[in-house]
Amino acid sequence: MNPGLHYLDSAATSQKPRAVLDAIVNFYETSNANPHRGAYDLSVKATDAYHGARDRIARFFGVSDPATLIFTRGTTEAINLVASSWGGANVAEGDEIVVTGMEHHANFVPWQQLAIANRARLRICELEPDGTVKIERLAELVTKRTRIIAFSHVSNALGTINPVREIAAIARGAGAISVCDGAQSAPHLAVDFDDLGVDFYAFSGHKMLGPMGIGGLIGRRALLEGMPPYQTGGDMIEFVNDEDTTWNVLPHKFEAGTPNAANAVGLAAAVDYLAAIGMDEVRRHERALIESAMTRLSAIDDLHIYGPGAAQRSGVVSFTLGDVHPHDLATILDGAGVCIRAGHHCAQPLMRRLNVPATARASFYVYNDESDIDALVAGIMTAKALFGPAHV
């Protein structure tokens, strides 16, 4: 649709394949009714489409019990659900919540606010100079008051892949729950929820070829069943008496109101698309691009790359270029048809730790190839020529 466009901002949102758009249109054309409501055939079709989508997405994430996959608007809502529901009921005064210094605001602010509201303490695991989490450093922060360890599987700003299983094991050993922000891993890495060992995993559909406004929370059944509802209203109830209400079973207890069935169907088409490519192949393709991009970018004078090497990095290269502000760089690259992100990447605590106000970020996905890196490098050279040698 946009010839000459080099889209390198998939960490913000991915482009969508035709199969996803078709699935959404097809739902509205053939199955549109309110799920769980009607006694008529069309509503049954809508209900089947919605739950069929849940089953397919659960399978993609290695979830054997699809009722433990709760649809949400995305990662942000999924994390807020856990913070509000589990956190609200289980975090007491003096308790501790551990996060890392690389978190997206969506996996930082909900915990910070929970800590403020419940008089708990937020503890932040500082990063190593290469933008990774040292497991021993994290373990040192964990005490018998730790109730929650929340961390990203993959950093949106640095691309760092974190050791999920090790962190989950630390949480388990301390009697804390682990909450994994999977917004940047679900699109790029093979994720098997049971194998990861975390208690909660949150993801967004729109970053993994799916539509905006749909994502999910995967959780352990025992935890989900013990949690109070996040929102109340239609669909999530069992009996509504005048004085009180009993709750519906999973997953409905956490899905108040008319569900986003069409986008759930769209997301199911997206995971089918990814499964057909194979997540190992997705990773192989991206890793080759990352290695090439890092090699070519690091050869440019005054260009500084943040974060770890390609082996411990998924889809993202964050960098600065001399005294050219990332915002200027993004404008100049846009002139060459190259879309990158410039700014704090919704990770201001991380930017403070890197001691930069902003970085430029190029992120890759299944549809990118070497020609995108060619355009990126050429655009950076244009910026260098325009700004001239850096003045100190």
Binding site: D323, V324, H327, T331, G335, G343, P357, A358, H391
Partner: protein, 144 residues
């Protein structure tokens, strides 16, 4: 050269890069003054405008902060342009400047804007308009 590339060259003029790298009136202001902070949360640009009036006249003006070339060059050029002006004159200039940044072709030719006309190219880049207006928004607040 594509139209886009030409627009970019037009925006990043020598004069703008010069003000970005050698900002005028950058630093704290001595004596009694008011400070207005303006931030663009999206990209992290920050301008702190320091202002002192003598009667109705802009007596002292400076800025601190950090950000992209457009936000910092605009702050530098704006502080130069309004120094010594009455607040009415400064506001009139600000209104004209705003028109230019929003794409008004007449304003872009208006000699009263002086050096500030170098920033007229920003109007071609909607995503950057906020950068060019940050310092003016701060000044407007400070003159109230």
């Amino acid at each position: 050269m594509s139209e886009n590339a030409a627009n970019i060259q037009a925006m990043y003029q020598e004069l703008i890069l010069d003000h970005y790298r050698r900002p005028r009136n950058k630093g704290e202001l001595e004596g009694e003054h008011t400070t207005v902070a303006m931030k663009n949360p999206l990209c992290g640009d920050e301008v702190y405008l320091h202002l002192s009036l003598e009667g109705d006249r802009v007596n002292g003006i400076s800025f601190t902060g950090r950000g992209c070339s457009i936000s910092q060059a605009a702050a530098s050029m704006i502080t130069q342009a309004v120094k010594g002006k009455t607040s009415d004159e400064a506001e009139a200039l600000g209104a004209r400047y705003r028109e230019m940044i929003m794409g008004d072709a007449d304003a872009a030719q208006d000699k009263s804007l002086g050096q500030l006309r170098a920033l007229s190219g920003v109007s071609k880049f909607p995503a950057r308009v906020k950068c060019a207006l940050l310092a003016w928004n701060a000044l407007e607040e400070g003159l109230k």
